[in-house]
């Protein structure tokens, strides 16, 4: 199962990197989101997919699942959700303000004091 997850991670990382290299702001945002999701899956796989009872709820189970990777992923998902939302608003605002959604076009913007 871990091996399968690692392969999925690799595919996601590849797609994310490909999209990050594009010039369209929207593609960059989705690329970064894919990249983050791949990192979360990797975190899960690296923690080891142990089967067992939920920890802290009882003392009689023979094996317990490891709660730490899940806690980390939950925190990281919240952060990346906020980031993606912020980035989308930023991209929209930039488009409204300049009419551009292509990084190459934005090169020419000059400084206004």
């Amino acid at each position: 199962m871990e091996t399968f997850l690692i392969i999925v991670c690799g595919v996601l990382f590849g797609c994310g990197t490909y999209m990050l290299l594009s010039r369209q702001v929207l593609k960059i945002i989705f690329g970064a989101a894919l990249f983050t999701h791949a990192a979360h899956l990797l975190l899960l796989a690296m923690g080891g997919l142990k089967k067992g009872a939920p920890p802290l709820l009882g003392e009689e189970a023979g094996a317990y699942a490891d709660p730490i990777p899940q806690a980390l992923i939950l925190t990281s998902i919240v952060i990346s959700f906020a980031l993606t939302a912020f980035m989308l608003v930023l991209a929209y605002r930039t488009y409204a303000e300049t009419g551009m959604s292509d990084l190459e076009q934005m090169k020419g913007l000059e400084y206004e004091p």
Binding site: L43, M46, T75, I79, L83, L90, R93, T98, E112, P113
Partner: protein
């Protein structure tokens, strides 16, 4: 001081920021709350530094969970000194912001986000948990995104997109590095990590992970991968650029310092050699950028990069003498960069332009600004008796002692280029026939006097009274050179 006070450097800015959200309509109330919080922070961090100096490392188990299982906050001398310096930077930049920020900024939560930023910075300095470090990095970064894009000028929006995009790549890399570290060691508490890595030995896998951490922190600290920095720092309004320049890259440097003295000090041939050469390359590229530009904002932003390279070079040498120099220079740089950016912002505001070729003769109506700027330039370039000299001297002396002649020479040469680039700003904007008329000479560029005088006093005092600062530095270096002290303070027992 009880260990519970360790939460205060996080709690005060966070709660003040939340309180200000409700006082959005009143600029006066926002300013008072911000000032009160900043003054309280300075007081608390003075007490904290003194308490750590007297009683040794303080550690607080959050939520009462014992050390390796819960999250801990740890204040050793390194953290305490950095918290103190960032509190001082916060209060001076706030005073400057009162005079220099536009009203629409103040109505759009600029003060709350400045305080949230400082909450993230203090959290990064104080936390004793690797994943918690990531969380506080994000608290700081999200605030910085908002502060950078606030105001919505087109150039700000473009630079924000670049800045957010590069950090959206760096943050998952941080998570990946943490995932590998957890898989290899089974813990994320820094003291516990240090213990386990020391026990099991730092093998090839761990060294690779440590290099991944170096890349992540290097992106945040503008070490070598600094392409995002000059653009974004020159797009932000002056008070915000000042606090960015003084704090943001320093958090990355702190993380490098902490990880490579506490957790990964065992393979210096690989990791520390990489740091030395990355530092040298950063210094050279930064200095070339500073010399080649003719806009004040860009020149100052490239100067931030040069000092990052210099400090990381010192961290890479890893001896106690080099680490002392690195910490001293780090503290100096926080103060001096805030001063330089505040004065640069004042020049731009008075002149109405950032292009050096269009400015001349400001000294006629603004003598104090001119002399303060010269003082800041001399301090950054490392002229005695100012604080930059002491730090540079310590680092270069260590460089010669460790046999790093080539990189030490690079350090000296780039200081010369830094001096040249900043003198160019001074000469171009202050000498010559004034281009201001008498009527327009005194209306603009308010509010820099008080903060600039405080910071100039501090940089002079840190240089003249270096003997008073050095005991604190050596207390911090003592912990960095002997990680057992840190481990014992956090985990207790043997």
């Amino acid at each position: 001081m009880s260990p519970n006070a360790l939460i205060l450097p996080l709690l005060v800015p966070l709660s003040a920021g939340i309180a200000m959200v409700f006082a959005r309509r009143s600029r006066v109330a926002q300013r008072w709350i911000a000032m009160a919080a900043a003054a309280l922070l300075v007081f608390i961090s003075f007490r904290l530094a003194e308490a750590v100096y007297q009683n040794g490392i303080l550690s607080l188990n959050l939520g009462g969970w014992p050390a390796p299982f819960g999250i801990v906050l740890v204040a050793d001398m390194l953290s305490a000194l950095l918290v103190l310096a960032s509190s001082i930077v916060l209060i001076t930049c706030l005073i400057y912001a009162f005079g220099a920020l536009e009203e629409r900024h103040e109505h759009h939560y600029v003060y709350p986000f400045l305080l949230f930023l400082v909450c993230g910075v203090h959290g990064s300095f104080l936390t004793g948990d690797a994943f918690n470090l990531f969380v506080f990095f994000e608290v700081m970064l999200i605030s910085s995104y908002v502060l950078l894009s606030l105001g919505g000028r087109r150039i700000q929006l473009r630079e924000s997109i670049k800045y957010v995009a590069i950090n959206m790549v760096a943050s998952p890399l941080f998570v990946i590095a943490i995932a590998y570290l957890y898989a290899l060691t089974g813990t994320l508490n820094m003291a516990h990590l240090a213990e386990r890595v020391a026990e099991a030995g730092q093998d090839g896998l761990l060294t690779t992970v440590s290099l991944l951490f170096l890349i992540v922190f290097g992106i945040k600290a503008a070490l070598f991968l600094f392409v995002w920095l000059p653009g974004s720092y020159s797009a932000a309004p002056a008070p915000i650029a000042a606090i960015f320049a003084a704090l943001l890259t320093k958090v990355g440097i702190y993380a490098i310092l902490r990880f490579f003295t506490l957790i990964f000090p065992h393979e210096p041939q690989v990791t520390h050699t990489a740091m030395i050469w990355l530092g040298a390359a950063t210094m050279i590229l930064g200095a070339l950028g500073a010399v080649s530009h003719w806009g004040i904002r860009r020149i100052l932003a490239y100067n931030v990069i040069v000092s990052v390279g210099f400090i990381v070079f010192a961290i890479g040498m890893a001896g106690a003498d080099a680490l002392a120099g690195a910490l001293y220079y780090l503290l100096h740089d926080m103060i001096a960069k805030a001063l330089l950016f505040i004065l640069g912002g004042a020049i731009i505001q008075i002149a109405g332009t950032d292009r050096l070729r269009d400015i001349a003769g400001l000294i006629r109506y603004r003598p104090l600004l001119g002399w303060l700027f010269l003082l800041a330039v001399l301090s950054v370039a490392g002229i005695p008796p100012l604080s930059g000299f002491v730090g540079k001297f310590m680092i270069l002396e260590a460089g010669v002692r460790h046999g790093q002649y080539a990189v030490a020479a690079v350090g000296l040469l780039t200081s010369l280029l830094v001096l040249y680039s900043l003198m160019k700003v001074f000469v171009q904007s202050f000498w010559g026939e004034t281009f201001l008329t008498e009527s327009e000479a005194f209306f603009t560029g308010k509010g820099f006097h008080a903060p600039a005088l405080i910071l100039a006093f501090l940089t002079a005092a840190m240089g003249l009274a270096a003997n008073g600062v050095l005991p604190y530095i050596s207390a911090a270096v003592d912990v960095m050179a002997n990680p057992e002290l840190y481990i014992r303070a956090v985990l207790g027992g043997s």
